[in-house]
């Protein structure tokens, strides 16, 4: 992955959450008591409650509602302050419009994530083609009755050539395959070369709940949001909300510990944990949310751990335990006592790792 300048990233994504510390207080001059008073006045008057709430819409039918943000600035704001939501037409950050504009201007130094991925895929494809070519040589040699020494010599030669090929690709870097990508990207919804943005930012239900219950960011109360997602609270049974609560509790748990939590759908797990966020580094941990009193069969653990291991991440099994009886929880839900409700769960985690005797000596 190409590394944009570290410092500008730090500045661009200064805040880990959409709520900011009060950092605009005047300086205090020790020998000037008036400045103390002024400082105290500013401190008393200061607030970090956002002046404007983010508006969300519900799209789709009642069974599978999608929570979306359509305002351009709000989309940017949520992404920049804690990486909330995903652009529906992008890999994560909503960049569809920029990509369209970039493609029509044929900017070659564009580092949109989608382009990097595309280029990497093309490189990998070329590598595979090369490998097939070399393997065919070996097969021909075997067919023509070549001896072991000839075979070994060819194998060594092949390995060397593939290594060189890969190195060459890396040196060429991300610069060379532009033409392939650009051409295919030029078609878009162009109206006189002005693009109309058709992308919205979609929030997971846990993200929306976090931004409404834990932080005052969305223009919807937790009560209204949850009744829109799960129906009127009078008809709720514990079974309807159990899964959501365990997932929310886990999400809240890691967010409050300072992690950037995003959906893990691409790796077959519930959440991904980023130390700071997707532009900074790859996610380190994959979270699987589980009930503390239930166990799955071994193949389940084995298969998810293989998928996660293949992506060079660590698999964390996150066990959520309910501390109060079910009807108490439902009662809290009905009376909108969400602080007590989400506080009635405990989270514990275990790292699951495949152990290979030959490789894991230390």
């Amino acid at each position: 992955m190409a590394k944009p300048k570290g410092k500008s990233l730090q500045q661009r994504y200064k805040y880990p959450l959409p709520i900011h510390p009060i950092d605009y207080l005047p300086s205090v001059i020790l020998h000037n008591p008036v400045s103390w008073v002024y400082w105290a006045y500013c401190f008393w008057k200061a607030t970090n409650i956002p002046s404007k709430r983010v508006h969300i819409e519900f799209e789709g039918g009642v069974n599978f509602p999608h929570i979306v943000v359509q305002d351009k600035d709000d989309m940017k704001y949520l992404w920049k302050n804690g990486f909330f939501g995903t652009g529906q037409l992008s890999r994560s950050e909503p960049t569809w419009l920029e990509r369209q504009e970039g493609a029509s201007k044929e900017r070659s130094n564009d580092l949109a994530l989608e382009k990097i991925t595309e280029r990497r895929r093309i490189q990998r494809l070329e590598f595979k083609k090369e490998r097939v070519k070399l393997e065919k040589q070996l097969l021909d040699l075997r067919r023509n009755g070549g001896n072991i020494e000839q075979e070994n010599a060819l194998l060594v030669q092949e390995r060397e050539m593939l290594r060189m090929f890969k190195q060459r690709q890396q040196e060429e870097g991300l610069g060379d395959n532009n033409s392939v990508v650009e051409e295919s990207m030029i078609e878009g919804t162009a109206v006189d070369h002005e693009y109309v943005d058709i992308e919205s930012l979609e929030l997971m239900s846990v993200e929306a709940t976090f931004l409404s219950f834990a932080l005052p960011i969305l223009d919807i109360s937790p009560k209204v949001l949850l009744s829109r997602l799960f129906g009127p609270s009078n008809d709720i049974t514990y079974g309807d909300i159990h899964k959501f609560i365990t997932h929310y509790v886990t999400y809240h748990h890691y967010r409050s510990l300072g992690w950037c939590v995003r959906s893990g759908i691409k790796f077959g797990c519930d959440y991904l944990l980023y130390k700071r966020g997707p532009p900074f580094q790859h996610a380190e941990f994959c979270i699987m949310v589980l009930d503390h009193d239930k166990s799955k069969d071994y193949t389940w653990y084995s298969s998810i751990s293989r998928v996660i291991g293949g992506a060079k991440k660590t698999c964390v099994l996150c066990y959520v335990e309910r501390l109060l009886p079910e009807d108490q929880i439902v009662e809290y839900w009905r009376t909108d006592n969400f602080i007590k409700l989400f506080g009635s769960y405990r989270v514990g985690e275990v790292i699951y790792k495949r152990w290979i005797p030959g490789k894991n000596r230390d």
């Binding site: 039918g61 069974n63 599978f64 995903t86 569809w96 295919s184 058709i198 979609e202 995003r262 759908i265």
Partner: protein, 130 residues
């Protein structure tokens, strides 16, 4: 399908999302929602078809040209509730696809704004070399 029912709303939105994603993110061409419809466990199902911008799997020979692909959109929740069973896929292959269709693409729509795509082959298929 009755567009006024709530199931219809969900279905239309699902199709629209997958269509948008194919055209504007995956850069496919000629994407259309097909008319043919089957009802499975009370849920109406339609396929989308379209042409990908390049050969989808490097095991295929480019000589065959880029063919039209069938895309089956499902919601993640439905997928997890095991709506996608072998019997269901069998009906999709026999009722919604042309005869001798080798594969369809399962488009799973998550509620986090992503669509993930998986190949589903009709019958045994030689695994792709990684």
């Amino acid at each position: 399908m009755d567009p006024c029912s709530s199931d219809g709303d969900d279905r239309l939105y699902l199709e629209e999302l997958v269509e948008k994603s194919l055209i504007h993110l995956q850069l496919w061409k000629d994407v259309v929602v097909e008319d043919k419809l089957v009802v499975w466990k009370g849920v109406p199902v339609r396929l989308l078809t379209g042409c990908p911008p390049h050969v989808l799997s490097h095991d295929e020979k480019p000589a065959d040209g880029i063919g039209r692909e069938y895309i089956l959109p499902v919601n993640m929740t439905q997928y997890k509730e095991e709506q996608v069973t072998l019997a269901f896929l069998d009906i999709v292959f026999s009722e919604l696809c042309a005869k001798d269709t080798k594969r369809i693409i399962l488009a799973i729509v998550n509620t986090d704004g992503t669509v993930v795509f998986y190949f589903v082959y009709n019958g045994v298929h030689k695994p792709k070399r990684n």
